[in-house]
Symmetry: D2
Subunit: 338 residues, 4 copies
Amino acid sequence: MRAYRLMEFGRIDGIVVTDRPMPEPGPTEILIKVHAASINRRDIMLLEQTYPRPAVPAVVPLSDGAGEVLAVGARVTRFKVGDRVTGNYWPRWRDGRLADDQLDQLGCTLDGMASEYAVLDEQWAVRVPQHLSWPEAASLSCAGVTAWNAVAGCAAGAPGRTVLTLGAGDVSLFAVQFAKMMGCQVIVTTSRDSKADKLKSLGADHVINYLSTPQWGTAVRDLTGGQGADLVVETVGPETIEQSIAACARHAEIVLLIWKSPGRPDLVIPGDVYGPKLATLRRIFVGSRVDLEAMIKAIATNGTRPVIDRVFPFHQLHDAYRYFQDTSRFGKVAITMD
Amino acid sequence: MRAYRLMEFGRIDGIVVTDRPMPEPGPTEILIKVHAASINRRDIMLLEQTYPRPAVPAVVPLSDGAGEVLAVGARVTRFKVGDRVTGNYWPRWRDGRLADDQLDQLGCTLDGMASEYAVLDEQWAVRVPQHLSWPEAASLSCAGVTAWNAVAGCAAGAPGRTVLTLGAGDVSLFAVQFAKMMGCQVIVTTSRDSKADKLKSLGADHVINYLSTPQWGTAVRDLTGGQGADLVVETVGPETIEQSIAACARHAEIVLLIWKSPGRPDLVIPGDVYGPKLATLRRIFVGSRVDLEAMIKAIATNGTRPVIDRVFPFHQLHDAYRYFQDTSRFGKVAITMD
Amino acid sequence: MRAYRLMEFGRIDGIVVTDRPMPEPGPTEILIKVHAASINRRDIMLLEQTYPRPAVPAVVPLSDGAGEVLAVGARVTRFKVGDRVTGNYWPRWRDGRLADDQLDQLGCTLDGMASEYAVLDEQWAVRVPQHLSWPEAASLSCAGVTAWNAVAGCAAGAPGRTVLTLGAGDVSLFAVQFAKMMGCQVIVTTSRDSKADKLKSLGADHVINYLSTPQWGTAVRDLTGGQGADLVVETVGPETIEQSIAACARHAEIVLLIWKSPGRPDLVIPGDVYGPKLATLRRIFVGSRVDLEAMIKAIATNGTRPVIDRVFPFHQLHDAYRYFQDTSRFGKVAITMD
Amino acid sequence: MRAYRLMEFGRIDGIVVTDRPMPEPGPTEILIKVHAASINRRDIMLLEQTYPRPAVPAVVPLSDGAGEVLAVGARVTRFKVGDRVTGNYWPRWRDGRLADDQLDQLGCTLDGMASEYAVLDEQWAVRVPQHLSWPEAASLSCAGVTAWNAVAGCAAGAPGRTVLTLGAGDVSLFAVQFAKMMGCQVIVTTSRDSKADKLKSLGADHVINYLSTPQWGTAVRDLTGGQGADLVVETVGPETIEQSIAACARHAEIVLLIWKSPGRPDLVIPGDVYGPKLATLRRIFVGSRVDLEAMIKAIATNGTRPVIDRVFPFHQLHDAYRYFQDTSRFGKVAITMD
């Protein structure tokens, strides 16, 4: 079976296709025919070695993928042949808080989904909803759960609250969908007017062009009768934190997903802006299997479909990686094994 | 100006219309031209003296009403003439937890809204959304906030969770609306098939006829793949608690609104059903002004409209009271002063 | 090695000592030289078949035991030879919420600690504090964690809050200790004046004799300036729930540990007492490994020692079971293998 | 009666004593014979105009003071003559969240306690415990409630958790007391070895000299078996935030009290240190009347006494202000009117 492996860092060509014997599932494992996988920003960071956890040598990349159970080990009870499944980003983190012995990640320290077949412990996998295509089902684990925990795992995310999310990246698009699913008012920033309509179709109540409105923090307050946003999904970090704080309401919650950037190793919080806000800064890092299951239940209940920008065939993974970094895209970039 | 007053308990005719001089707002008060008011079950209980708090002599009944600010006292800062407002059920309860000196209620220990004009302290009132008619705006304070706190003020009420609400009473209809607004799966019980379609139009995913399905607890579990409901809005009490517990999932939350009924002074919780559920029973009692404001923001954001069954003219208040108890109604019963 | 096994229900003699070959730890397991074990009410219930989960045939009884690691499997990373450990009540429940595949219990569906040696998966065990004797360390898993989650796992358990706990049973004694550790005011009921001094030595601020003060709910309110208790650790159930509710403050939390009793299959909640209290009834069922670890950290930090009433030698397990039911005891009943 | 008034900013002599007629309490007010008042850092900041809220002209300074009720207005129900009381820092903030119309502060926008007599609305005052001297009772409102909300108002502050508090300032001393009251392990930093013993007497488990151990973040982790602190009471801000983050455990909470300092207008959060910690940064700003009452109940229950360093007579307020800034002090600086 063919699988991509990360043989050399720093360049997309360092990901090479390999052909190995078909794996066998162990007693508690399931063998999956992977139908699609998708790329997340963390996969680029892993390649560029800017991700907090280094990838292990020759790892199969991509945390996100979905497929069909082909075979199950003798002691497997959670799945049967034919089930449609995906894996959890942190496969060993089931519930509660992330612990020291749960730091493995698919596509980083454990083989990921850029492969025709994958073997996962049955505890690492969950069922995916019937209404999703394979590329959609392969889009949930990283950006989806991150947005879910940012929006739904947050006291500030309640009906009628104002959620501000930054940009039209993958996490942000999920955040728009989840915030609308929860009855929130949603404001999004973007640099491209061409994306405004798409964001509104997805549910955004207001879209602010942050290039033409560099003081978008004030704009958010203006749009909310002077109150500000109750929840900010901070998908950018050092470049935006000042306006994010300016945008937020007293007692707001700012969910920090990124805390440094090339050339900006620190998050600089301006005291005069921050002091009176009484805002909470919360860090999240994707989520547990129970979080993934809760998100999937919400997606199934509400018929939500992840936004897919483009699907590449398996053999064009390098093109998919390159396309992923195209800032005009709107939605996930997937590969398909079919 | 004309106002109804509760002169004698036990019969609807004990509510009599009076004519008194127009009131003047004090320095921190607002004078309201009431446009509509609505009836809640507690107004019947107050009349029948089965409500936990007794009404004071000659009180103007009805907690729920809405109108326009006609005049403001010298020190009023929250409102101006022309604002559309309603009052809070517990006018002295602003935020946090209900305290001993906050137990006054409109239409019970303080004059309520069955009146052409009303005077409220500016702290007791809140603005109502523009998209609501007067009868709709007059339907928020009691049943609305109760349902809001049951569903949105609850860890169990999150997208994808299953909410079970009992019957097609006013609280239950709001609960359906709020639960759908939050992305939940909603199951409702009713005794009338004729209401099933209306409940579905309102958003209910499933409707169970509790007469034809007396073991509806099992039916709820069946509808949820054996899991059960995550949240039960218990609008009935002694007659239903056993099935409510049977219906719920492990770790579910049951919000208890009623805890006794004529002939059943106790809530009897069957040990064998309850024990393994690890369910939390939570009591709520309408809510604070901050709760009302949050609900109103959610209603405004989502364009939600309370369900109005029928509107009576001011002079037919007695008919409205009688009609309120008609079990075939579906939605609030309001009176209008226009 | 010798181990007791539950061969016949309904009588203490149904627990018989067996001699089997020394077990070998599997790759992820540890072999423990058990030094002490202790009895909990659930062990009596398991014997009498009144516990919600039935024991499997020939199970080694007792959830609570402590000992020294003698050998570790090849893949064990959490422990080394010589570590002092105990097991978790629900060994498969690590963190978050109890799930369907985590319902095994030591001494019930899995072999427990009434044995000279025990083998546990390394994920099922935790280290015990150095300052504890073996019988003390063998007293933590069931009654300890139950009291911990009742008191510390509860919003109502904060410094200055009033905690009411019922009786001088094992959970109640731990509850006194944890509530005092947290700076609460503690009130305890008992039927024996002889225990009042012991309860006060343990930290209780007030002790009420419920035989001479059958309206002890009122007594609790009197002791708290009319407010009532903020948290009730309900260790009894049907016989006491009415007074427990009478004792509690508005917005109190009642943690229900027992929900039926011989002859009383239901929990009867009197509507008139309950209605105005706005109290939450919460069910807990011991706790997760993370809970056990948190409790152990608290015990280690504060030098807390479980109360041991009496220690029997291993061969007198039957006497220990009989003594356990002596209502004059005050503290845990343990057996020792040394 | 004599009262100090803040007539000119920037120098202690700008606070001048005035003699005015004895005030009369209005209908909902109480007249207090002030017995003691105490200084907080915010009083220095108000004088130096570095506090976020500017003081109004000729305000009576000091938020913290305690005294005896001398007279009550006609509609007062909460207090009677002879009651021992103090005022809340934000007198209009009763419960829940701080709102826009609750931003008045004693000693800032409302007359404070540096006065022989004070008039407060009855809603602004609370009773103080009998076991406290007047200077102790005059030490609760600002630093006390701040520390209370930092430690007790925080999920991370539970028995057995590790609390790190910075320095031996007033908030930090209260934080040590409250954290020990709650059964936490407490670590404190200081620059003076002479204070180490005093901090340990107060309950600190470990004291780190941050001058001799500039990498005190590592020291905290070493003292906690590599885990780090669960809660950091960040009393300093820009100069310490890096080490505070380095000190904290995964999922820790950092309570930020100060967010800028002279010459350092920003809080700079180093990305590489912060990223993996998943720590929450929470801002608090003293607290509500309900918080003050809860703290007072905890203090009364546990017999806690605020640390008083030195008491000056009323006429030496200027000396008291000067002494307050002496970094060798350990405890509150009070003035007494007796």
